[in-house]
Amino acid sequence: MKEHRHLSNVATLAYDQDRCTGCGMCVEVCPHAVFFMEGKKAQVRDRDLCMECGACARNCPFAAISVRPGVGCAWGILLSEIKGRDVPSCG
């Protein structure tokens, strides 16, 4: 089946390959296979598939990855806006 895709060039995912030690945690935790291993370093396969869940950044022991995690949920964002929250979240 076709891979679902939302908008391109929006993800806040940033990856500093110099810090990567090749532990492979990012490849393991990403639910959309954004990363893959090439030799001793992780590589980004497709940034546009990133849903900004934040699993890779949290599980990278060497802080090579950063992302602004959040919910890709329009109602959640609207509600957070109404309630004056800084970071959009559910409920």
């Binding site: 679902h4 806040t12 949290r58 919910v71 329009a74 109602w75 964002i77």
Partner: protein, 387 residues
């Protein structure tokens, strides 16, 4: 109906139900913070309940052994929770459980304390000997709880200590559901407890294959999906709330009609009913096949086709001096409604990011609101003329 915390006054449309394990829901009843109301004692499903088979003595005290078959009571509970009945107390007491007859070398599987999450794990454990460590996620599923941080490093570290896990098992390995990773820093857990975290498959159904392959997941086990079936289940649940209102409004329209108030005739009403069904059901189901990326665009596209169909079938097209206002109100309002509702499905999808949805909203919201406002003006003109 159970009580909600004061800030739970959500749009009914927002009360989405996520499936477990995580085919859905970044935002659902599980997600949208149905926490225990303040001042109320926390309630769990009774521990001596039907899914407990027996007790097992361990160096850390007795541990409940769970059944690995889902009973009719479990299914009934699932249906009730899905439709919001007693949802908040549909949680399992956190702590250590057993499946089969586990010993010191048996694997430890970590789960959330939402009963549906717990059920989806234990039903896969038939014929297996394993420990289940249930974290207190306040009755929220793994993925959503990980996003909130309740399925998180601190809770895991605390629960390992409280359950005396180090005395129950001789190894130092924990298997976490992969979708718990947004909340848990594996290296941090290891640093604090000396337990190594291994991320298991996304779906509990793969847990046996994962374990028998020596705790190795295939690439397919690591991917989140969003299949037609997932979307059908989600929309069915999601539509129950708006549907209640639709039934009420339709009934009101009908009753008004009986009294000769034809302001809101069926003919005037069904276009809107259609637009709601398109945004809330048709777009989610046909999602990958509708051209374009943005959910609001997909909703608008089908909505505008619907509006054209409505106008043709009501004889409003081609436009005439007498009918153009009504045709315009359909063209402006119907696609706006389906676009707005379709945009709401971003929260149920498993692949939209915060940045992506923010961008989509920045473009779609002004357009939808503008279109709807002008449409309402035209509608008012039509209704006024009808008086």
């Amino acid at each position: 109906m159970t009580e909600k915390a004061p800030d739970q006054n959500l749009n009914p449309l927002s009360q989405k139900t996520g499936q477990e394990p995580a085919v859905s829901c970044e935002c659902g009843p599980e997600c949208c913070g149905w926490a225990t109301p303040k001042g109320k004692a926390e309630r769990f499903i009774r521990e001596a309940d039907h899914w407990i088979e027996s007790r097992l003595e361990t160096p850390a005290g007795p541990v409940a052994v769970v059944k690995t078959k889902i009973s009719r009571q479990d299914i009934l509970g699932t249906v009730k929770a899905r439709f919001g009945v007693g949802r908040m107390s549909y949680k399992v007491k956190p702590g250590l459980y057993a499946a089969g007859r586990p010993g010191p070398s048996s694997p430890v599987l970590v789960s959330a304390n939402y009963k549906l999450s717990f059920d989806s794990l234990r039903r896969e454990l038939g014929g297996l000997d394993a420990w289940i460590l249930v974290l207190d996620t306040q009755g929220i599923n793994v993925w959503c709880a990980a996003g909130k941080g309740t399925f998180g490093t601190d809770e895991l570290v605390r629960r390992i200590g409280q359950s005396n896990l180090g005395r129950v098992v001789s190894h130092r390995v924990l298997v976490l559901p992969q979708l718990g990773a947004p909340g848990v820093a594996a290296h941090e857990v290891t640093r604090q407890t000396r337990f190594k975290v291994v991320y298991g498959p996304v779906r509990a159904a793969d847990i046996k294959d994962f374990l028998s392959a020596g705790m190795r997941a295939t690439p397919g086990m690591r991917r989140v999906r969003f299949t037609l079936k997932d979307r059908l289940v989600l929309t069915a649940i999601e539509l129950t709330n708006p549907f209640k209102y639709l039934v009420l409004i339709t009934a009101a329209v009908w009753v008004l009609g009986l009294f000769g108030l034809r302001l809101l005739s069926w003919k005037a009403w069904y276009p809107y009913l259609g637009a709601i069904l398109i945004g809330g059901f048709l777009v989610p189901v046909l999602l990958p096949w509708i051209p374009g990326r943005a959910f609001a665009w997909k909703g608008w596209l089908l909505g505008v086709i619907w509006a054209a169909f409505v106008n043709f079938s009501q004889g409003l097209l081609p436009l005439t001096a007498g009918s153009w206002q009504q045709a315009a109100s359909h063209f402006l309002l119907l696609p706006a409604i389906s676009a707005f509702l379709a945009m709401g499905f971003t929260g149920s999808s498993t692949y939209t990011s915060l940045s992506g949805v923010l961008k989509e909203m920045r473009y779609a919201l002004p357009f939808v609101l503008g279109s709807a406002s002008i449409g309402i003006v035209f509608l008012a003109v039509v209704l006024f003329r009808g008086l």
